[in-house]
């Protein structure tokens, strides 16, 4: 089975029109597909409304107990369920999941180093319940996953959505009967050479170029872990990986395509 894994994040989640267009494009994809979403901007908004100021270090959220509750409410609650309701209205049989649902994604608390990230869950290739995901797909149910996982002993944990998308893609790619394509979608056409020029996206980035880009700071912050996830997926059996807008998901020519 060929499976498209689409991750939407950034402003695509927060802006009603962007979200509508993203979900419409997702619906148009033929065959087996999975949607994964973040929602950091919305979570920040809710957090501030509740008087909790978001704490970030190197682009990663510090998740204390109060923040965990807020990201669970945001990602697994309002964002996930509104996306599912919208997809259902487009006749796409979506079903929302966090990692605890059906033991879909089991994570382990990130070990404390010099930074205490709090309730953050890291995952590995054994984390993904591919049996459940394939079972849902084969029964015409489209999984919509948020970036909340669980540790198996009763705690929910906050996990990066790009990482979840990459690991789900790799886990499914390891299955004998699966061919997997992974699309990281956001509000830009691709990875930009010049952040001020929206047309300046790379058509292709190979690993060599990626290393150079890191060295000369062409890319920074959030884009580095996204690309690291992307290359990690490519090295582990995922057929195609793209970064760009959520339209024409079957055609990776109008986006940044990754290759080894």
């Amino acid at each position: 089975m060929k499976i498209h894994i689409v991750k939407i994040g950034g402003h695509l989640i927060n802006d009603g029109k962007y979200l509508h267009n993203s979900l419409k494009a997702f619906c148009k994809l033929q065959g087996y597909k999975i949607l994964i979403h973040g929602g950091g901007i919305k979570a920040d908004f809710i957090s501030k409304k509740m008087g909790v100021f978001p704490k970030m270090i190197q682009g990663r959220r510090i998740t204390d107990k109060e923040t965990l509750d807020i990201v669970v409410m945001s990602y697994a609650g309002i964002i996930n369920k509104n996306i599912v309701a919208m997809l259902q209205s487009y006749r796409c049989n979506a079903l929302g999941l966090c990692g605890a649902d059906g033991n879909c994604i089991k994570s382990y608390l990130r070990k404390m180093t010099n930074i205490d990230y709090g309730y953050v869950g890291d995952i590995n290739v054994k984390s993904i319940n591919t049996y459940l995901i394939k079972f849902l797909l084969e029964n015409n149910i489209i999984p919509v996953l948020c970036s909340i996982t669980h540790n198996g002993t009763g705690s929910l944990l906050n996990t990066n959505a790009d990482t979840i998308a990459a690991y789900i893609a790799m886990s499914l790619a390891k299955e004998e009967d699966c061919e997997v394509e992974l699309h990281f979608c956001f509000e830009k056409k691709g990875v930009l050479r010049n952040v001020l020029d929206s047309e300046s996206y790379f058509k292709i980035i190979n690993e060599n170029l990626f290393q150079k880009m890191k060295q000369n700071h062409t890319i920074t912050n959030g884009m580095i872990p996204k690309l690291e996830n992307a290359f990690f997926a490519l090295k582990n059996g995922v057929t195609k990986v793209s970064i760009g807008l959520p339209n024409h998901l079957n055609d990776v020519d109008n986006k940044t395509r990754l290759c080894l």
Copy 2:
């Protein structure tokens, strides 16, 4: 297939120890089972924290847009996902759902009369996707449903959890191969004769007694719609209906049992 439907509400959701005991008792139930939960007290707490004061008329929440967002975050988010994570830690293969997930429960906006309830969804016997619920049960997945539904055109709606429990029970009871028991659980032993005496619960309430209790105000407010839902379920094929503590769910002798 025999199916137990357990609804937990009131302080069972809000108090950690109560919730733990409720979920342990649910896990002990043998065979097919479904959990349905409310969470009004928690939603009130979150609502106030966000500076939105809950509005109630005759024990029913007025759900404006802001309140809808809060109940979705509370019911489908933090409450549902924490319950699922706890059940998973007890080796109970729970999967959380709101009505939009897999088009599980479709509702319609309540018609405006003299009171505008806002984004409140009413349901009927056709609302329940019994195909999906039975499919999950038959595949060893235990549905955990919150009281958020959808209208099929992209909007989430707030629906009473007792009503959802009753309609799911009735819809499944109508299936040829199903026998259904329904348990409404809260922090009391049953329907009390005297609200100040926790031991004064009725062993049995029949419809005749219920009508008298309404007339002489032995019961008021929230208990009246709960009992109406209970009798409605009994009249529509549900084998047993009980109201009481969430322990010994197989034995309705230590609770208030309803009969026609």
